[in-house]
């Protein structure tokens, strides 16, 4: 029997209205005054599920909606339609009071450790605040011990607690941001590009730290990134996002050994390789269209080498393949990939 997923997302949509007030929607077009409300379709009908102990990587290029998915899951944004369930409970409609225990179980790590730590709070204050908030019964010494043990676990000397964020380097700040997430003993971590702002030698340190935390604490991750070499290492499952839709979802091994969707193939071939000195990437025509006016049909059709008339008319549905991956592509379905 399969275990129920820890996190389940179904039919998730998020659109941001560009024209918010009534006056903004009034446009003068072709000699007529009309009303028109434009919106950005950031996430379109996304289904994902994450089992306990898995690390799902969500990859895609800027503007594909990967951060929006993370923020929706963390409850920082409200979905337009769709459902998000955590451990069997629907959480996107919960009132703030009932959401509290879930906020403790789900913690978020952000991209830029220069912006995510309050510059006016010492490290100890930053780390103690969530512990006190979520465990009001703990006394001062217990809070202090808890924080000190987490600081040691992430490789930050507890005696540095009196310092302010500006006294730390980027890598150390990201360790502190990870410590802040771990102080409340979460089960599920949403990490939005946690190593993109760091140098190569520091990236490895932070990534190892996150892997250790996963093993020791039995964490489940949702890892948002644009860097495919990290995905190969960190993820157990990968979802490739393009213009707000999942185009391929597969086990890490399956995705890297046998990518199917033309976009996944192009993305993989574009990663600069160390050993191979001949650039032989698949050229994509043009660039990502804006998510304001989504094309009908497949979101990838304007750049796809295998697009035909069906692709421009009908949006492909995610289909489960023989190796267990899910691919949304007419060309894969009809077996006419070039």
């Amino acid at each position: 029997m399969t275990q129920a997923p820890l996190l389940n997302i179904s039919g998730l949509h998020k659109q941001f209205d560009l024209d918010q007030g009534f006056l903004e929607t009034v446009k003068f077009k072709g000699g007529k005054i009309t009303r028109e409300a434009r919106s950005v379709h950031a996430v379109n009908n996304v289904d994902l599920s994450i089992n306990r102990g898995e690390a799902l990587c969500v990859v895609g290029e800027s503007g594909c909606g990967k951060s929006t998915v993370a923020r929706l899951v963390a409850g920082l944004l409200q979905p337009t339609t769709g459902e998000i369930s955590y451990d069997g409970t629907r959480i996107d409609t919960l009132p703030a009071r009932d959401m509290m225990p879930y906020r403790r179980k789900m913690q978020m790590i952000f991209q830029n450790p220069y912006a995510s730590l309050n510059p006016r709070m010492t490290i100890a204050q930053t780390l103690e605040e969530p512990v006190r908030y979520h465990n009001p019964s703990l006394d001062r010494a217990e809070v202090h011990d808890k924080v000190a043990s987490v600081m040691r676990a992430v490789g930050v000397d507890p005696s540095w607690g009196v310092r302010y964020p500006h006294e730390f380097s980027g890598g150390q700040r990201q360790r502190i941001a990870i410590a802040r997430a771990l102080t409340v003993d979460p089960e599920f971590i949403i990490a939005d590009e946690p190593i993109s702002a760091l140098d190569v030698s520091i990236q490895a340190q932070v990534l190892n730290l996150m892997l250790e935390a996963k093993e020791e604490r039995g964490l489940t991750y949702m890892f948002i990134t644009h860097d495919l070499s990290v995905v190969e290492h960190f993820g157990t499952k990968v979802a490739v996002l393009y213009l707000g839709s999942v185009c391929e979802l597969a086990d890490t091994r399956t995705l890297f050994d046998n990518p199917k969707h033309p976009y996944t193939r192009a993305l993989l071939s574009a990663v600069p390789q160390l050993k191979d000195d001949r650039p032989n990437h698949i050229r994509l025509r043009g660039e990502i269209p804006t998510p304001i006016n989504l094309p009908a049909g497949c979101p990838f059709q304007s750049r796809c080498p295998s697009a035909n008339s069906r692709c421009s008319a009908e949006k492909p549905r995610p289909m489960i393949q023989s190796d267990g991956s899910t691919v949304a592509c007419h060309a894969v379905e009809e077996d006419r990939l070039t």
Binding site: V200, S229, P272, D277, P279
Partner: protein, 328 residues
């Protein structure tokens, strides 16, 4: 004779209380048509190297000593008019962020014509013809229409193509590209790099590519300089540095890349972080993070050792190399 020759370049920044050495005796040569990469972490001095070559350092930074010889002339001794003749004309520079590089209130056409007319006596319509030809060279669709557009009307990849076109306008001998694709997505990055490589090869332009991405260096350049805390710690043919790096820092940097470790295993990390330039330790700057560090490493700065095609600044590598030579 090499196109560019940098000798013992020392760049300092005069701060309120002390003077910080940002580049410490950097020396390298660049042949005509050659492509070299400068790799390192943020704060290592890669960008400062690029800026110094064009004498673009602004206060409190200054060139303390050393020489930069470009095509037989020393850039550090040049007057402003002489520098203006070189900048943009014989040496072009491409920066990281295409939105900041282009002037948002001028059209693409105005910016290209302005660049051409600053260095050549050309009529506006002649300049526009050259601009259109260059835009076509970087595969910009409908180049005639782009001249009337403003930077905000174009996507990031398109803007970076336009910047490359502007860099090529005056047929420079050298292009310095400082993290040209860091702000772009991978699929766009691959396109831009391919384009830059093709243009350098077909126009016989030399390239200095400044980047933190070893994958990019590996695909684009013939020679690589690895910079750490203001010094070149390893230099040589790119293939050799990538496949068989000698300096412990280069080894650590390459081994730390996720693709170097089998799936599911822990990454090989370098402990610690690069020191701030104001607090570089005595001896070899890398010694606190190095697993081979000895007392010598903590006291004296290592000299450059030549091993075949590689130049390495490391006591341990030198000692190892000398014992091997004796054995032979």
């Amino acid at each position: 004779m090499s196109l560019l020759s940098v000798r013992d370049l020392v760049v300092k920044f005069a701060m309120r209380n002390n003077t910080v050495t940002a580049l410490n005796k950097i020396s390298f040569d660049l042949a005509r048509g050659e492509r070299i990469g400068i790799v390192g972490e943020s704060g290592a001095g890669k960008s400062i190297t690029g800026f110094s070559i064009l004498n673009l350092l602004s206060k409190p930074g200054y060139i303390d000593s050393g020489s930069i010889t470009f095509d037989g002339e020393d850039i550090t001794q040049m007057t402003d008019p002489q520098l203006r003749d070189i900048r943009g004309n014989r040496i072009a520079m491409i920066f990281q962020d295409p939105m900041v590089t282009l002037n948002p209130v001028l059209t693409i056409g105005q910016q290209m014509v302005e660049t051409l007319q600053a260095h050549r006596r050309l009529s506006k319509s002649d300049a526009e013809q050259i601009a259109i030809a260059k835009l076509r060279e970087v595969y910009i669709p409908a180049p005639e229409e782009r001249l009337a557009q403003y930077p905000h009307e174009l996507s990031g990849g398109m803007r970076q193509r336009i910047i490359i076109a502007i860099a090529l306008l005056l047929d420079p001998q050298l292009i310095i590209a400082d993290e040209p694709t860091t702000a772009l997505d991978v699929t766009i990055q691959a396109d831009i790099m391919e384009l830059l490589l093709e243009l350098c090869q077909s126009n016989k332009v030399s390239l200095i590519l400044i980047t933190h991405d070893l994958g990019v260096v590996s695909q684009m350049t013939e020679r690589t300089l690895v910079v750490y805390a203001g010094r070149i710690i390893e230099a040589g043919p790119t293939r050799e540095i990538i496949n068989d790096p000698q300096h412990p820092y280069s080894q650590g940097l390459i081994n730390a890349l996720p693709q170097q470790t089998p799936r599911g295993e822990k990454l090989k990390q370098i402990p610690g972080a690069m020191p701030a330039l104001s607090a570089v330790p005595d001896g070899c700057a890398f010694n606190p993070r190095c697993s081979f560090a000895t007392d010598t490493c903590r006291k004296t700065v290592p000299e450059v050792t030549r091993i075949d095609h590689l130049e390495v600044a490391c006591h341990e590598v030198r000692r190892h190399h000398e014992t091997e030579e004796v054995a032979e």
